[in-house]
C-alpha cells in the first residue's frame, strides 16, 4: 500500500500544504528532486512528453520545463531561491499560460525513523483566485489515471 498524500487548502488563505511520507531515506528523496534525469521521470503526468529545458536545483539556479500532449504544450518556470541538501528548498513556480502569477513554494525534506522520510511542501499564492486558478489549470493538464477513470464514469452519466 502506498503512503497517503495529505493536501490542505485552508479556507480564505491562499496556501496549499502537501505532505507525503516515503519508505526511503531523505537523501534519496532529495536526490530524486535534484538530479534532472530522475526528476523528469516522476514530475509529469503520465502520458505526457516532458522536456526539461533548464534545471539547476541549487541556490540561485532555475528551471523551465514543457509538457506536451496531443499537440498542446504547457510550459512552467521558476527559480530556486535557496537549496540546502537533504533539508530545505524554496522555489518559485509560474505556469506560462497564466503569466506573472507566481507562487512561492518551500519544500522540507525531513528524515524519519527507520530510513523513512517526509516531504512537506507549503505553497503561497498571491491571491485566492491565483491559488484556485492555478490549481484548476493544473487539473486541466493532469491526466491522471484516476482522472481518466472519473471521466469514464462521468461520460456514462
Amino acid at each position: 500500500m502506498s503512503n497517503d498524500v495529505t493536501i490542505t487548502a485552508p479556507e480564505g488563505l491562499p496556501f496549499i500544504d502537501i505532505e507525503r511520507e516515503f519508505d526511503y531515506p531523505v537523501e534519496l528523496v532529495f536526490r530524486a528532486h535534484k538530479d534532472p534525469e530522475l526528476f523528469k521521470r516522476w514530475l509529469g503526468p503520465r502520458g505526457y512528453e516532458m522536456e526539461l529545458e533548464q534545471f539547476d536545483f541549487t541556490t540561485g539556479g532555475r528551471y523551465r520545463y514543457v509538457h506536451s500532449v496531443g499537440g498542446e504544450t504547457y510550459a512552467f518556470n521558476g527559480v530556486f531561491h535557496v537549496v540546502r541538501d537533504n533539508e530545505f528548498a524554496i522555489q518559485t513556480f509560474e505556469f506560462e499560460g497564466y503569466p506573472d502569477v507566481v507562487s512561492v513554494e518551500s519544500i522540507r525534506f525531513e528524515p524519519l525513523e527507520g530510513d523513512r522520510s517526509r516531504l512537506r511542501v507549503h505553497a503561497v499564492y498571491p491571491t485566492m483566485e491565483a491559488r484556485d486558478g492555478m490549481v484548476a489549470s493544473g487539473q486541466a493538464k493532469g491526466v491522471t489515471e484516476g482522472y481518466e477513470q472519473l471521466d469514464e464514469v462521468l461520460a456514462g452519466l
Binding site: S2, N3, D4, V5, T6, I7, T8, A9, P10, E11, I16, I18, R20, F22, D23, Y24, P25, E27, L28, V29, R31, A32, L38, R41, W42, L43, P45, R46, P111, D115, D132, V135, A136, G138, Q139, G142, T144, E145, G146, Y147, Q149, L150, E152, V153, L154, A155, G156, L157
Partner: protein
C-alpha cells in the same frame, strides 16, 4: 467549495471511492445507476459474470459511499448516492490525484535508486 483533507476520515473515504472506481465493471454499474435505481439482477445482465460477483462489486461501491441500497422488501434496488460523484470532482480531489500519481511514480524511482545503491532500501545508509 473549499475542502480540507487533513481530516483522516475524509481521506479514507476518498481513497475508498477512487479504489472503488478503479474497476471497469464498477464504473459501468455507476454509469447504469445514473439512469435510475436497479436490482442486482438487472445490474448483472450486461456482464458475463455471476450475480454473486456483481453483489460483491455493489458491496465495494456501498462501502465507498457511492451507492446505497434501499430496504424495499426483497427487491432492494441499488441507488446512486446523490452528490457522491460531485464530491469526487471538486478541484482539490483532482489536484490530489495528480499528486498521488506523482508521488507513486517517485516511489518507483526511489525504489530503483535504493536497489542500485545497496540491493535493498532497508540497507541504505542513513545520514
Amino acid at each position: 467549495m473549499m475542502t480540507t483533507f487533513a481530516d483522516p476520515a475524509a481521506e479514507e473515504r476518498l481513497d475508498r471511492a477512487f479504489q472503488a472506481l478503479s474497476d471497469a465493471v464498477r464504473r459501468a454499474i455507476i454509469a447504469r445507476l445514473s439512469t435510475g435505481p436497479a436490482t442486482v439482477n438487472e445490474l448483472a445482465e450486461p456482464f458475463a459474470i455471476t450475480t454473486q460477483a456483481v453483489s460483491r462489486h455493489i458491496h465495494v461501491l456501498e462501502e465507498a459511499g457511492l451507492v446505497t441500497r434501499s430496504r424495499e422488501a426483497q427487491r432492494r434496488p441499488v441507488h446512486l448516492r446523490p452528490g457522491a460523484l460531485e464530491e469526487l470532482t471538486s478541484w482539490i480531489d483532482r489536484y490530489r490525484l495528480i499528486h498521488e500519481q506523482r508521488f507513486r511514480t517517485l516511489d518507483t524511482v526511489l525504489g530503483e535508486l535504493a536497489d542500485a545503491e545497496t540491493g535493498t532500501h532497508q540497507n541504505a545508509s542513513k545520514e
